[in-house]
Symmetry: D2
Subunit: 407 residues, 4 copies
């Protein structure tokens, strides 16, 4: 790969990406464009602008954007239509944010005439894969620079040295190692590393960023009603909300009740296992609610097909293949199923869990007339079941007879 | 179907199966053999013996058996190796008990020279299918009699009339309709029908049979450690237990903490949706624990394959195909994966949920050496990730280039 | 089911459906509407009109339609986008025609105010299921009458008697049993029953309806080029053709070269195995060609997902679930993949087989630059493969190390 | 990676692997052990011994083995139980041989105290991946050396120069480039590269190594009967044969009749498309025969599950994951299904194709009694079909009613 001339950097304004910024300038002598996105991580963005300016970035090369609505509308919601869970439990909060960042990096590169993008993910994790596969899928000619795989700043000491030598301001609490590493966006917070590295040991409560420890959650349950249209949540307690506003609201509710904390050992795409503590308060409520509304509006054929496709879909997102033809194929199938997934679900939030307690819909397929224990007025002829069972049994009978014959 | 000469009846000793018993005698003039099993439903069996005798069953035709160990060892545990959930949430507590009952019915029929078996499931539900598919798969020549699909005793009044005319004792509280219908075994209790038929309305707390309402659960968490060998739980808090003893223990713990209550609208195999309240206290803890131990002992290739097979496996059990070649094929695959699923999981039980907080194993695949944020002493070469990403990206780049070319 | 008042009958004009026509009139005293479709079965339709009139059907109640273009465009082509094969070999020629017939039956019922439809499929086969599931999926209130499951005309003699008593003309060669039963449409001919019932015995050549016995095919190969746009064939040897015209052309070519004859024992949805001889000359060429064009225009991610979905898709069509949400979901996924499946395939037709010998496309993803054995000018860095392999191997190494440790 | 001390080389005796042998000696100063296997590629092995000796390999370090029986018994036959086809068409002839070679390389390394193995596969293909994943899965500490990814002998000229400088004998016809590259074993021959690189152009007949061009095949068909036991072929025309003998026999028959030639553009695991001409004469007959015997001995539940698992299974083998837990899980499922796959299939071999024309078995599930068009004496009650259809239709009716209601 030839040296880049102009690089768009995914820039948080923090120490690590500031070091990367400076390193790109010194290593390649290239122009740097910074991209700082508000994905709902809960940090001010303006300090990133000031820091970028301080590091010599021209004002027209500083991109600061609030992408929360796009994030929830075009990434989080489509994923939740699938009830996606990686390895049975993980709601993919980090995974789903990466493609959006790469998309904007590539778009800004094209707008500014940059030939490369850069990110601050390490060589051990999944995020490098997600950033880079997304970037290459959107622009096959883009260069992607991953300084952590290249440079020799392999210890905290070397990083601090580099920062000091390059006049990068260092906040007091950044001189030492953090006790664990955090990633956050509107969907979730993940914490991993260091004090969390032993999967036998319980994670300390102080790890939690947006969720109260479950014992400290209110002693009274709280009820919430979520309304869906075509598979997407559109209102909470009857109040219509934009996607990001709605997820913010659910995060507040979930965080207050200690909902959506997960301690998981998962398999990274790069081949190793890692342990993380994930907080997905609003997402956990949303998943439960979406399942609730599907229970009455989705036919079993569609539902079972969705269930069987889901693990592959979740794996694709986890592995960084959001912008791949196979994810888009699965999305087309999933979206097709959601046409009538509309209605309202009532949930009880209490001490770490969201329990579905009711659901109703104009589009309900639940037929009390058919299922009732009372007289069904001929809606269902129980004698049909005899034929249904006989023909389902026929092959099993033929098998049993064959197996007896051969004994 | 010609009239049966001798019928083995799945007999609970309750009013409904007593009416069936008498109906079989009068309708077909046939000899009846009763089979009453202790599956952990929590009822005395001896009254069933007395009642059968009262209804004229010869002592040698009364089979009363404790099958709890067989149930958990040969049915529940193999199913839990798969982390089976039907429609994302249901732990299949009723489904998994039916094949065992059918197996014993068929075996007793063969031992007593009976040509038919009979069950008390209605024509609207899944249980008729499960009973009958299992019976036919084990004996292709057996007759199965399902009185609810045949007789005209279609209202409570007619049933009571029949009972009175035939000197069948009627407990006082059985004269009217029960407010809901219950099925129970060592794995779970299900409640459905009547007061539960409107899926929009919250189920009342009095439905709960073996679980305290979550608000009444202890205010202090309790920790439990479950040890696995080859995918099956073998000890609780370090104490080795037989399968049924272990599940009983977990039920106590789970019930006390309000764990495993599910309000679900599901799709029956016979084509309609139904709403049930399921209590699976021990099973919910067990599932969580099994996932926890798999997290560190199962490779991602095996784990992801299991995840992708699970929905089909669960559907087979739900639909009554336990004794089918395809369930056995899937079981072979799943069992193959469990060879090293051994170790211990620590869970926190609190207010309706079981949270995995730690797991450890001699067979762990978790490599702190690889995953660490600290110096890994060369265990992992971050530069490998560059090649890994490049080749995973190659097809995406070729696609992107093609698509640009065609624009 | 109450008696029907007006019935739309799928009417071929042959003896069997003429008997059904009369039986409906006499059994129910109902008005009959006939629907006779040209699906490419190769029979004149006008005799059906005359026969219907003779049997007392009012002219306005006689529907005769050429649906060949709709059949190929809306049913055959979408199915071929999936490369659908049932049980590895069957191209679903009968299965795919049934939904279209049911669709028109239901539409005509709605147009004529009929409350029922009727078909001539027996109670042992798949076609009854396909007709009826399609009808119910399109009109939940329609009645479906399947005389073969109802009447007592259970032998040839009784049928002939009924015909004679009711002045139904009987062609000479229809008095006895045919040596085998045939179904035909533009996609295929199937033959089954009687002389074909022993799957150990080779089918005689005289069974073949539209294909020459392979030994009699030309001794010289013939080449054909088929052009695709978005997954559908649009031209043969450079000549643009409508869907039905194109399939007719491929049938001529395939029939001449003895292509697409299949002797299969398959599993019917109703639980038994049956043996059929299928001739799908044009379809076999088309499948081969479609695969050929996908080879260069479809990415592996999309292709492998398609391959994994195909068996389920084919099973749905075979079982009669064309008009089901899950088939439509799969179709949405498949159609999504076909956007760039455009280009031309060259095949050699010879003695029973169609061999792909070349394929080219503007949308090709094949990159000679990458794959070449010659100098690739840096298109591909072989060193990337080392990292790719290392990370793919990592989990296998961790497994091997664990397994060695435990020994 | 530190320099290897002793390397086991997969050695063919040809020019390329001789150059590798010498390069290993000179590059690393290490001891080389050669492993030359007879996999049925049709070459003499003794010249490889002489050549190795000439290049200074100690006699005790020269391993020459006939592994044909192991190859067919433990690799080819298990794979054929699955009816494995990669991308719908490829019988995986090269893929399936690599794990066996790696297994012996690793075993010999352990026997001789070698710390590394080496192979002659390039950095662009799949074989490097297959060799290395297999090696690492069997010995996590082994080093694998792939000289083609390391050295700078990147042109024919440089290779010849190196050979001349190192006294490696060069056969006359090896000085120039071969017009295409060949891999062969008992299952197949693959040809690719150079004259075959344009997928639009028909491959010349001279590419064929073991199959006559189809036009030159006999004008008379030949019949063959293949007998299976538990899914594996055990006899041809009634004569019992060992696995390798049997496959050799089928290769003769298939080669004579021009059977099993495939022109394919496939997707390599490393991300590019490549075009190959594959000859699998015996394997093509075997696959057809295996399907034939499964048609009558395998239940639809088992068969359809196998069909749905097959694409993943084939992909695993293609990608080099033979020695992976997920391949072994799938194998366990597949093997479970084969218990009664026993019986005989009769095929007609003619002009490039193997047509199943008959099959019979003690274990047949085909029931002429059920399927017959004649009187079935009550084996099957056609009225059962009505109930079967009604309950399969119920959800579709509920859907249709819902959708009408919402319009």
């Amino acid at each position: 790969m030839s040296a880049p001339k102009k690089v768009v950097l995914a820039y948080s304004g923090g120490l690590d990406t500031s070091i990367i910024l400076k390193w790109l300038q010194t290593e390649y002598g290239c122009e740097v464009v910074t991209f700082t996105a508000d994905l709902g991580q809960g940090e001010e963005l303006e300090p990133a602008r000031q820091k970028a300016e301080l590091l010599g970035i021209k004002p027209e090369n500083i991109y600061i954007e609030d992408v929360r609505e796009e994030f929830v509308r075009d990434f989080v919601f489509p994923m939740f239509r699938a009830n996606a869970l990686y390895e049975g439990e993980y709601l993919l909060g980090t995974s789903i944010a990466r493609p959006l960042i790469s998309k904007r990096l590539v778009e800004i590169a094209e707008a500014t005439g940059a030939d490369a993008v850069a990110h601050g993910a390490t060589g051990k994790g999944n995020d490098q894969v997600r950033f880079e596969l997304s970037a290459y899928a959107l622009n096959p000619d883009i260069k992607v620079i991953a300084p952590w795989r290249i440079w020799d700043l392999s210890s905290r000491t070397k990083l601090i040295d580099f920062a000091e030598k390059n006049q990068i301001p260092i906040a007091k609490n950044k001189r030492g190692e953090a006790p664990f590493s955090v990633d956050a966006n509107l969907l979730h917070t993940s914490s991993e590393g260091r004090v969390l590295e032993n999967p036998a040991e319980q994670a300390p409560d102080y790890v939690l960023q947006r969720t109260v420890p479950v014992e400290q959650a209110p002693n009274e349950p709280e009820y919430v009603e979520i309304t869906f249209e075509k598979g997407d949540a559109v209102a909470v307690n009857g109040e219509a909300m934009s996607p990001a506003t709605l997820l913010t609201k659910l995060n507040e509710l979930g965080g207050k009740h200690g909902i959506g904390v997960l301690d998981l050992v998962e398999n990274r795409f790069v081949g190793m296992k890692s342990r993380g503590i994930y907080e997905t308060p609003g997402g956990t409520i949303l998943l439960q609610a979406h399942r609730g509304i599907e229970q009455i509006t989705l036919d079993s054929g569609a539902g079972h097909l969705k269930d069987s496709l889901m693990p592959r879909y979740a794996e694709l997102i986890y592995n960084g293949f959001w912008f791949s033809p196979e994810r888009e194929m699965l999305q087309a199938a999933i979206d097709k199923s959601q046409e009538h997934v509309s209605g309202t679900v009532r949930l009880k939030l209490y001490k770490g869990a969201a329990h579905t307690v009711g659901r109703w819909s104009e589009a309900s397929l639940y037929s009390e007339k058919h299922v009732t224990f009372e007289d069904d007025a001929g809606a269902y002829d129980q004698k049909d079941a005899a034929g249904f069972i006989q023909l389902n049994a026929l092959r099993l009978k033929l098998l049993a007879a064959r197996n007896r014959r051969l004994k």
